[in-house]
């Protein structure tokens, strides 16, 4: 009896304690979540415009990472944090979900495949498209053994910060480094700073030195950063720095220009809500190596820019930074309510579902497309005829800001510098329409398991194959070294002997999978992993007078027209594979015989018109003759006397 009561009391106590713990936990969570909820629900001062079209003047205090105000006489002087400084009036969390920052967010709609981050390394014959977004054909950075921090160090230079730069490292070894370097916050000023002294190129330099915490402030023009967090020991504390053992090492530091702080120790920023186009160009420039004349002055800008528009006139967003990408069909996956009317058709033709006429925005001319049969609009994107370089017999090497670090100090200006991006390739995209694309042939060492190819972690490749590939002479141009079949065979054998590699070692290059057969000889076969990655070209848009088809149908429908029959270069580190070419139709869902026959039919097109017109003339003459005869009969009948 007593035992029972005893048990009962203890059970009650247990229950009470459990309930108490639960209630305490819930309350604690609520308290902790309160600021987040308040931020999510309550709009901040700068989240919503009051309707004035005038620019908002930004004279604001600078705040550190911890939210403390910065004064010019602080010691140590800390870099201002965008999260804190801009976040005072703008919801940083909401902005952080925007297109430029949400790649690692699994819930973000990936939309149409876009430009990946291309990891290239001439030494190991590697060129592989990476993306946190689930774009088919790309690999996740972690598949190549890159932590978010390593990814940021490699690719952060041409981002506006945020995204992977703010992810926590999964490696214990990196946690201390993360404390030293800080995280790469969103650099709002990458885009919104209209100060001509803003130096986005320095962002790359700071990131290379792992000065993530200092990078944003260093670019602004009001401050300069020195030193290198990369050289600091794991125990280095930037807030309370101890003297360094090695006097040659320079700790990361920031210095603000004299006179930027006003009497309240506030700072003026020349902020533009409408981002200047040259800020976009830092990450979104293209250089088509069509000929030797690649200088900026000898090429034209996008016709929209020439017409006086800026990038953000079409690529708009609100506080959520859910920027319109501008492709056809985006409205079905985008939450941006003007996505549909911001596409080519949206401005030039008008959004058909709109209750009001919306065509002609920005004075966009409504195209007549004389002589272009309507079927073209069902099978081609607008960009197919209007964007990218005019197609030649051969595709051309193309350099992009993000792939080739254009605009940074010490960039390799060689035309052959890796990665080898090829364009324009007229390929069928996801919606079934043909569009011009940029293309990348993947090249990497991997392992084949259950029919799937998984890349071998890049660090492991370097370590395992270091000696095997040691004799390859690296070129100053940044081009591929001269890989031979022997190098591939040797590399595969070395990988096979390494126990850390699971599955069959393979090397992907030139659109082929290379592996060793049972006899140890190199065999080459097709595989999905060797397929090239393509992403659509949207800009530069050419004027109507330079669109495909402007001269005649044979711009595309000739038996040798590059649109269908042009050569697409196959890129490979392996010398013997570099002569291979694909045809443009290999990337289009079309029947080659039909394409050729159809193109050939245009030889007879003028005859057909002549025959049809002559036939019409004869028919009209016969008709006229008998109409006249009938008239004569009527006239005769009516003219007869009684």
């Amino acid at each position: 009896m007593f035992a029972c009561r005893h048990q009962y009391i203890w059970k009650r106590i247990d229950n009470k304690v459990s309930k108490g713990l639960v209630i305490t936990g819930v309350l604690s969570l609520m308290v902790l979540a309160l600021p987040v909820a308040a931020e999510a629900e309550g709009k901040k001062l700068g989240d919503e415009s009051d309707g004035s079209r005038a620019h908002s003047i930004h004279v604001i205090p600078l705040l550190t990472e911890e939210g403390d105000r910065i004064a010019p006489d602080d010691d140590p002087l800390l870099p201002f944090s965008m999260r804190q400084t801009c976040g005072e009036c703008h919801s940083y969390q909401i902005i952080g979900n925007g297109w430029h920052f949400n790649a690692p967010d699994a819930n973000a709609a990936p939309g149409r495949p876009g430009q990946p981050s291309i990891f290239s390394d001439a030494r190991t014959g590697t060129q592989i498209p990476l993306s946190y977004r689930p774009w088919p054909g790309t690999y996740k950075p972690e598949q190549l053994g890159l932590t978010p921090r390593q990814f940021t160090r490699r690719f952060g230079s041409h981002t506006p910060g945020g995204g992977a730069g703010e992810l926590d490292t999964p490696l214990d070894d990196e946690i201390m480094r993360e404390m030293v370097s800080g995280k790469l916050e969103i650099n709002c000023l990458s885009c919104h700073n209209a100060d001509p002294a803003h130096n986005q190129g320095d962002f790359a330099g700071q990131i290379a030195r792992e000065n993530f915490r200092w990078a944003g402030a260093a670019t602004t023009g009001i401050a300069t950063a020195s030193g290198s967090a990369r050289d600091m020991p794991d125990t280095y504390d930037p807030v309370m720095p101890d003297p360094l053992d090695d006097p040659k090492l320079v700790p990361p530091a920031i210095s603000y220009k004299q006179g930027i702080f006003d009497s309240k120790k506030w700072v003026f920023f020349d902020i533009k809500r409408e981002v200047p186009s040259h800020r976009c160009y830092f990450c979104h420039s293209n250089l088509y190596i069509e000929n030797e004349h690649t200088e900026k002055w000898s090429t034209d800008e996008d016709i929209h820019m020439t017409a006086g528009l800026s990038c953000v006139d079409c690529h708009r967003n609100g506080i959520d930074h859910n920027t319109v990408r501008g492709y056809e069909g985006e409205a079905s996956v985008s939450k941006n309510h003007i996505a549909a009317e911001s596409s080519c058709e949206g401005c030039h033709l008008g959004e058909k579902s709109s209750a009001e006429p919306v065509a002609g925005r920005f004075g966009a001319p409504v195209p007549q497309h004389p002589g272009i049969p309507p079927a073209h609009f069902e099978r081609l994107t607008c960009t197919a005829c209007h964007s990218g370089p005019w197609p030649g017999e051969e595709t051309v090497l193309t350099k992009t800001s993000r792939a080739h670090r254009l605009g940074t100090i010490g960039v390799n200006k060689s035309h052959e510098a890796l990665p080898h991006v090829i364009s324009p390739v007229f390929a069928t995209q996801g919606d079934g329409k043909i569009a011009p694309h940029k293309l990348l042939w993947p090249a990497f060492w991997g392992s084949l398991k259950d029919g799937q190819v998984e890349p071998v972690a890049f660090d492991a490749v370097g370590k395992i194959l270091g000696e095997t590939l040691a004799d390859l002479k690296r070129l100053r141009s940044g081009d591929w070294p001269a890989f031979t079949a022997e190098h591939i065979t040797g590399g595969l054998k070395t990988l096979a002997s390494d126990k850390s590699i699971e599955g069959t070692p393979v090397y992907i290059s030139g659109g082929k999978l290379h592996k060793l057969d049972d006899s140890g000889a190199l065999s080459v076969e097709d595989h999905a992993a060797a397929e090239p990655y393509l992403w659509p070209i949207a800009h530069d848009v050419r004027p109507a007078a330079q669109a495909l088809g402007i001269r005649y149908c044979t711009d595309c429908h000739a038996t040798d027209a590059p649109f269908f029959f042009g050569n697409v270069a196959v890129d490979s580190p392996v010398v013997s594979e570099r002569q291979d070419v694909k045809k443009m139709y290999d990337f289009q869902d079309i029947d080659v015989t039909y394409a050729k026959a159809f193109a050939f039919s245009f030889v007879f097109r003028p005859w057909m018109k002549a025959v049809a017109l002559c036939s019409c003339a004869v028919l009209a003459a016969v008709l006229l003759l008998y109409v006249l005869k009938a008239l004569a009969f009527v006239a005769k009948l009516l003219g007869e006397e009684d």
């Binding site: 497309h369 097109r605 025959v611 049809a612 036939s615 009209a620 016969v622 008709l623």
Partner: protein
């Protein structure tokens, strides 16, 4: 919409032909060869027949390639079908022009063949006018009307495409011309079927 109109159009026409066949099993008697016909070279007659057969073949190909994708596949003509269509279209146009020259006189409309017209003329003029030219008995009145309608419709049918090919019309004009081509082609085809039916009926006698 066009699909429904097409199906209804073909169904009504074929039903009409079947009904006509049932109501009037024996067709009009074919006229005996006149002296002038006998004088014509047999080569010309063979040529006329060949042209007609070629026109008929082209017509069948054009109807199939034109209406099959629309009625069966539910899409506009494309691919090999459009090439086939474009190949046979000029052949058909030429045949039509030649047939127009060869048959026009044979198919001239004699108002005496049409009692209604005769009555109207008599009402208007009060005369009993008769055509000085000998009435053509080689073709029935329905066949003649069908023939002239075919010639009349052939012009917009061909020109609606030629205008597009000439490359001066914009997207919306082209869409309009294509729609016009489709509807005219439908009416043209129905009349051509009727004409062929009437012709074969007469030939069968």
């Amino acid at each position: 919409m066009f699909k429904i109109i097409t199906i209804v159009g073909f169904a009504v026409t074929l039903a009409g032909i079947v009904l006509h066949r049932l109501i009037s099993p024996s067709g009009p008697r074919k006229a005996k060869k006149t002296q002038s016909d006998k004088g014509k070279s047999s080569l010309l007659l063979v040529l006329r027949r060949l042209v007609y057969l070629l026109a008929l073949l082209s017509f069948v190909v054009l109807v199939i390639t034109g209406f099959y994708p629309l009625l069966v596949l539910g899409e506009h003509i494309s691919g090999y079908l459009v090439m086939l269509h474009a190949t046979f279209a000029p052949v058909f146009a030429v045949c039509l022009a030649v047939l127009a020259l060869m048959w026009a006189d044979k198919c001239r409309i004699d108002y005496n063949e049409y009692p209604v017209m005769r009555r109207i003329v008599r009402l208007l003029t009060g005369t009993k006018a008769a055509d000085e030219e000998a009435p053509c008995k080689n073709s029935g009145p329905g066949q003649k009307i069908a023939f002239w309608l075919i010639i009349l419709l052939a012009l917009p049918l061909i020109l609606s495409i030629v205008v597009i090919l000439l490359g001066y019309s914009g997207t919306h004009q082209q869409e309009w011309f294509l729609a016009a081509h489709r509807y005219i082609a439908l009416v043209f085809s129905l009349i051509a079927i009727i004409h062929t039916y009437l012709l074969t009926r007469m030939q069968a006698r």
